[in-house]
Subunit: 489 residues, 2 copies
């Protein structure tokens, strides 16, 4: 148990505890709390959102809307000559009233600086950014990369500023769309440094202003680890390796490419994800016929150990800092060795045909073997995060909800390979590194033994059936906003 | 250009320079020099060989035989109750005359301590070993692991001892067998610390006493990097990934499992290796018919870039210390997640059948595609090592000669998977980590495009044909001992 939740506390917002999440403290948000924001943001007269990527565009607009009339100006800071300048102008940020300016000017004059430029830009510019922060500024991040990066190079945040994080549990476009729909998107909140004594209230105010219906507590390190680990694991890398191995296995077994793709990939990103989203991993299992349950159990019991071993290795690599050091080194190789795309391979050409011919009314049937293997990977990731002391809400969000509500629907629409090729460079490099390891683990240790006369290890199945994560999933699922967090594609 | 050769120099032995190796200094050994050993080892009256693994058993016997009559005692040091005690006794080391004793007793009383226990034991025991070394002792290693390990944990060698390395270019059994046959095995020599002022002469004396016909200069860091890199690359991990990808490609193309295995693996570990051993990579190419040359060129040109990208990543990971940190962390996971074997998979069961039915008189024909891909990996490794400033002899030895003279013949006899499962834990973990990456690189970026209407990038082929490594290979090959360095199996 190495990492711990930041225990949410507040004088401006109400803290509740949720028994099914191990008594975790949470804060409920909502529009009725917007009038408390100026008090919670006491000392902040200017909020600067740096960057206009998908998070930047969404957060700047949400913050401006939520804070309007409260006397706090929200400005967008961009690189000089940024290609996003026109887009920011179109949404009403303007040089004339000071709400659009050069990024370092914005950083210098704001009391709350929300840093939403890319990982690569954070790594490249962090020294200049730190120099521009006035003492007592609150530096605000939306994921843990920069903290992990500083660890990797032996650096540190400036000692005289607050460092907080608010991490929305979905991609930028969902952050805006659900805000407009009135439901908002859940966030986790971390306090890394608190020199003003106001860091906790400012972080919660930022989350509430983004529209979060619920806020969970974590730490910057816990968030960074679970984020970098999760995308290498079941969220992207693990899923990619699984569907490649399953597709090949079905092909060699005599299936047509289309049938193989449907059993291997289509049914995971489609009906299996939908069922887990509605009813959790246990609900997926319970919806299976008895004969299918047997196939699920066999696949689950065979796959859990090999997949857990890879996930344990990934966790160690992340905790050691190896993954971040690798990402930094990889950026230095991109000119000499540009990354190829995964999407051009034969399997993903079949995928495009299958998507084009998809019939909305008749989704693919659930393949019980694919379901068992996918759930084994998901539960192995859950167990690995629990073993390392991550807060219960983080375990559920980074292993289950983000997969089935956000990433899998996106991949179902566009393809797993499209996601691998198009995600952030940190995620992309990690997914490419680890997918083949999941593939080999399944191809060598699992798929060859999936014949009928193998008896599954019942203890693993019993552990699955009785796993406390099912109750935690239900609790977290009940806190989900009513709208879908998936990105429209 | 980060790493450099140790420039060999000596007053006891003759230093020569070899133009074809970029003017590298080398020292010629031989039995006629054994009478110079006492002078070169001035100040050493007791040599302790710690450990009785394959290197320990071979080196202890060679050193004793070479130093006999010179007044220098060679002792073997083992853990109390070591299972190797009887074996050491059988070969004439005995408690009675002090030539067999508890390892720390031996370490404390010897002036030259040759540390040949396993990597894991070195990591576990290094503090106690360092404490037992008297000031002015010469600590002698046979590969660079311990130096890389100390870097990884932020440790260091004791400041008051010499640290040298002599690394035989072959496994322990070959070190003994070739000594007995009179030819001996080449060694690289490194001086890491020289507090006595005698480290250089002692290292060369040790190498000559082992029977080395030629000694090359390197540094401990250069040796460690090339060693850890090479086994993850073409020597084990790269080869494993290549033959897995090629086998599957032939299977999907309609070949029988046996035919697929012969084209993918058998022909690389067999005739391709033999041809390279005799005539170098260029000689292999020149022996092909025109139509086969075209297939070789296409495969080479397509594979070089993707394989080089993986090798560049491996080199960075090794240089960053990530690989060693991973190995250390992996040892901590072995109880919870024991390593599975690769050898049980379907491909390697086919391999066993193919080996059993092998006809000595008719070796497998050379598959030009496999040859092109294998040479692309080999040359990519050569170029990566050259780019990082490794001495020319080290580049040739770690990329070509160790492969075709030592490891491939062993794998041809026992199977690539047998090698992966049976090599040192450092090599095994690395091979398992990287083989799937080579596999995916070939499966995604190379094999699908090997149809006849693709035109190879001639510039890569021209670079291969004109590569200076061919001349360096010939120079190093001419220095090889006449006997085979392969292990009899």
């Amino acid at each position: 148990m190495e990492t711990h939740a930041y225990e949410l506390e507040s004088e401006c917002f109400d803290v509740e505890r949720i028994a099914e999440l191990g008594g975790e403290a949470v804060v409920r948000g909502g529009r009725h709390l917007f009038d408390r924001l100026p008090e919670a943001l006491s000392g902040v007269s200017r909020v600067g959102v740096i960057g206009w990527g998908s998070q930047g565009a969404a957060q700047a607009r949400n913050l401006r809307d939520s804070l309007s009339g409260g006397g706090i100006q929200v400005s967008v800071g961009l690189r000089k000559g940024s290609a996003s300048t026109d887009a920011a102008r179109r949404f009403g940020f303007s040089e004339a009233d000071g709400s659009l300016a050069e990024m370092f000017d914005v950083i210098r004059r704001c009391e709350l600086v929300v840093l939403l430029i890319s990982d690569a830009a954070q790594a490249q510019l962090h020294t200049r950014i730190f120099d521009a922060l006035r003492p007592g500024t609150t530096l605000a991040l939306s994921h843990g990369f920069l903290g992990a990066y500083l660890d990797g190079i032996g650096g540190a945040f400036p000692e005289d500023v607050d460092v907080i994080a608010v991490c929305p549990k979905g991609m930028g476009p969902s952050v805006r769309r659900l805000y407009e729909q009135g439901s908002g998107i859940n966030c986790s909140v971390a306090i890394e440094q608190n020199v003003t004594g106001r860091a906790g209230e400012r972080a919660l105010a930022w989350a509430v202003a983004l529209g979060a219906p619920w806020c969970f507590g974590t730490t910057l390190e816990s968030e960074a680890r679970s984020d970098i680990f999760g995308e290498r694991g079941i969220l992207i890398g693990g899923l990619h390796g699984m569907v490649e191995a399953l597709y090949r296995w079905h092909l060699v077994g005599g299936d047509s490419p289309e049938a193989a793709f449907i059993a291997a990939s289509e049914c995971i990103t489609g009906p299996i994800s939908e069922m887990i989203s509605r009813a959790g991993p246990l609900g997926l299992y319970e919806a299976l016929e008895p004969k299918q349950r047997h196939r699920f159990e066999l696949a689950y019991a065979l796959a859990y150990g090999p997949l857990r071993a890879i996930l344990a290795e990934i966790y160690d690599e992340v905790a050691l800092g190896n993954e971040i050091r690798s990402v930094i080194a990889a950026h230095g190789r991109l000119d000499a060795h540009p990354l190829s795309n995964v999407e051009g391979s034969a399997m993903w050409q079949v995928a495009a045909r299958v998507r084009a011919e998809r019939a909305d009314e008749a989704p693919a049937a659930i393949d019980a073997t694919s379901a068992g293997i996918y759930c084994a990977g998901m539960l192995a990731q859950v167990d690995e995060l629990i073993e390392h002391g991550h807060p219960c809400s983080e375990v559920v969000n980074e292993s289950i909800i983000e997969a089935v509500d956000s990433l899998n629907p996106y991949m179902h629409a566009k393809g797993v390979a499209h996601m691998v090729d198009g995600c952030s460079m940190t995620a992309r490099l990690g997914a490419r590194r680890w997918a083949p390891r999941f593939d080999y683990a399944l191809s060598q240790q699992v798929l060859p033994w999936l014949c009928e006369n193998v008896t599954p290890d019942r203890s693993l199945v019993e552990r699955f059936l009785a796993h406390p994560i099912h109750q935690s999933f239900s609790a977290c699922a009940a806190l989900r906003p009513p709208g879908s967090i998936r990105v429209d594609v």
